[in-house]
Symmetry: C2
Subunit: 369 residues, 2 copies
């Protein structure tokens, strides 16, 4: 039956027998609770060492109802932003003696739902997640109410009544677009993306141009900031310049190529993430164009490579590590019983001004060069 293939583990009963005490006493000695005499404590620990006793965490969790573990559901661990965010989580979790269970959601609401269910089934103490794009979040609210606190990261769908640690995407984008406007640009394109990694490229979602695709909340906010900035200068939004979907790197590159091939190509491109930024820069290089002479670029998320490209990329830097770390700390407070009203922490971004923004080229056609 149980553990057929595994070597029979030594249990606390075995230790107790070897030490000549009851299970309860052995448990007390080993668990460090209750009262145990010095002599018995030594006997038991000696016996445990002798037998190579390793407590069964499952059994302990079963009876205590606590697992000392957190569930993390993020979009894609292979995206540097989420990798760094996850690192912030695991560092804080470790410092607090908590384990971490990780699931990728690939922005798929169904996968997210399943992940949350698994987390609950495993009695995890709390859940950290970057919500997938969807209006349905009952499972999150339910989990939260059933005693498994949930803290949102990076995105914050309104009105969920959950804690969140985010960044002001709208405002950061708005400022970046203004930076471009100030430099004289009016034909500014927007490329979003950052979906599943290339390796799993099996289900090409219908995401060519626009709003029939579910977009991550962050993308929505960034689009909002983009539109707001343009509106503030009375520049009509040209829908051909708005390229958003669930683009991975290659797809983003293709989008950028299309942009450059337009009759009136943009003079600046805002890449709403480090993955689309990569694709965009690649497309620009492919076309033999130069940054910022021929085209200006700003990226949302300051990837580690952004000052190693030529020229160094002007980018909005987000505190990914801190988002993860603070979210974990917030979750811990909830786990420990804090039931104050939900808080949304908005962390600061910074526009790192480097060399990828210049004046717009006046010639609208592709330069010879």
């Amino acid at each position: 039956m149980a553990r057929s293939s595994r070597r029979a583990a030594v249990t606390i009963g075995d230790v107790a027998r070897a030490a000549g005490v009851s299970r309860a006493t052995a448990a007390r000695a080993l668990g460090g609770y209750g009262q145990v005499s010095q002599r018995v404590h030594e006997q038991v620990t000696a016996a445990a060492r002798e037998l190579g006793y390793q407590p069964n965490a499952l059994a302990r969790n079963m009876s205590t109802g606590r697992t000392q573990s957190l569930g993390v559901a993020i979009a894609n661990i292979d995206d540097p932003f989420y990798a760094r965010l996850t690192r912030g989580i695991t560092d804080v979790a470790r410092a607090e003696g908590l384990e971490v269970l990780v699931a990728n959601t690939d922005e798929d609401p169904e996968l997210e739902r399943r992940a949350v269910q698994v987390f609950q089934a495993n009695q995890l103490e709390g859940i950290l997640l970057t919500p997938a794009p969807t209006a349905h979040a009952e499972h999150l609210i339910a989990a939260n109410e059933q005693g498994t606190p949930v803290v949102l990261m990076d995105r914050h769908p309104r009105g969920l009544g959950l804690d969140a640690v985010v960044v002001d995407n709208r405002e950061a984008t708005r400022r970046a677009i203004h930076h471009l406007l100030d430099a004289g640009h009016t034909r500014i394109a927007f490329v979003a993306g950052g979906g599943r990694p290339d390796a799993r490229e099996e289900s090409p979602r219908p995401s060519p141009d626009s709003s029939d695709v579910a977009l991550a909340a962050t993308t929505l906010e960034r689009i909002d900031g983009y539109r707001a900035a343009l509106a503030e200068r009375n520049i009509p939004a040209d829908s051909r310049y708005l390229r958003c979907g669930d683009f991975h790197r290659e797809a983003a590159k293709a989008e950028a190529h299309q942009l450059l091939a337009l009759d009136e190509p943009p003079t600046a491109i805002f890449a709403a993430g480090s993955i689309p930024a990569l694709g965009t820069v690649e497309a620009i290089y492919d076309s033999g164009l130069r940054i910022p002479d021929d085209l200006s670029v700003i990226a949302f998320d300051d990837a580690d490579w952004s000052n190693v490209v030529q020229p160094p990329l002007t980018a909005i830097s987000q505190p990914a590590y801190d988002v993860g770390a603070l979210a974990t700390r917030t979750l811990l407070q909830r786990i420990r019983g804090d039931d104050s009203p939900p808080v949304v922490h908005v962390l600061d971004t910074e526009l790192r001004n480097r060399k990828s923004v210049g004046e717009p080229r006046t010639a609208s056609r592709r330069p010879a060069e």
Copy 2:
């Protein structure tokens, strides 16, 4: 006592009562095992739905002895190589219905030991890890023998008798160095690195120059390949050119700066990882030098940004995703009882020839430019 703060969960007993059957029958209906009549099955599932029953995975694992979960201990999730590798793991794991517990080891043997212990305590079915640099691996062998199979990734300390999925670091490096030698270089430096992320920079290890630091097995193999290639051309290894330690990005950058400041600076730099590559390229740009005119560069690990720098970087591409995926599949076979002799899978690397390697500059002093 148990679950004080959590809302009392509905158990299978509650469902059974509501459906008017015994716990055993309810469990059969819900668990889909044994025999249950059509009518009872419907009653039970209806009652379960009604009450919002969610099975307690902990209890199930407890009695079955199976957790359907894997433990993953990697150096640093924030390193793109490991992030991608982890993605390979989680994809395969999900396809097989397994959960994944992740721990960062930061190349610290003690953290690794603890992680493995936690994995065993939680009765995880198997362990995937990138072994930390140390001669002591008893805990891995012990875990394996006690019925928790272990598969190594990326590194493979000799003689452990464990499965592994690796890349031929020595040979790949040797070929890359030969590529440099063929171009005429003789003063070739080697910069390793890729330790803990900058954010946790608290314990500055004594890793300035050489062999008193424990190095990852991969680094050792790469050094070996580097030395072999030089020896094959009768070029004496200059110890000043060998810079290896637990360098994160900034440290690698500093090392590269030191290299460039030598009396006889190298004409080519081999960066033994994407993080030191980043630091190296940054240092070169800082110094106003140009690649490959002033200095040639080859990187181990083809980071996603390598063809976006100017010029695109010649790099050794490793199948990170596949390493994770294949390791997981191998582990699964072991979990399912395969007890054939351990296998070491060596995956192919590829030297992606781009534009960062040229002829050595004859002038040994820093060029004016």
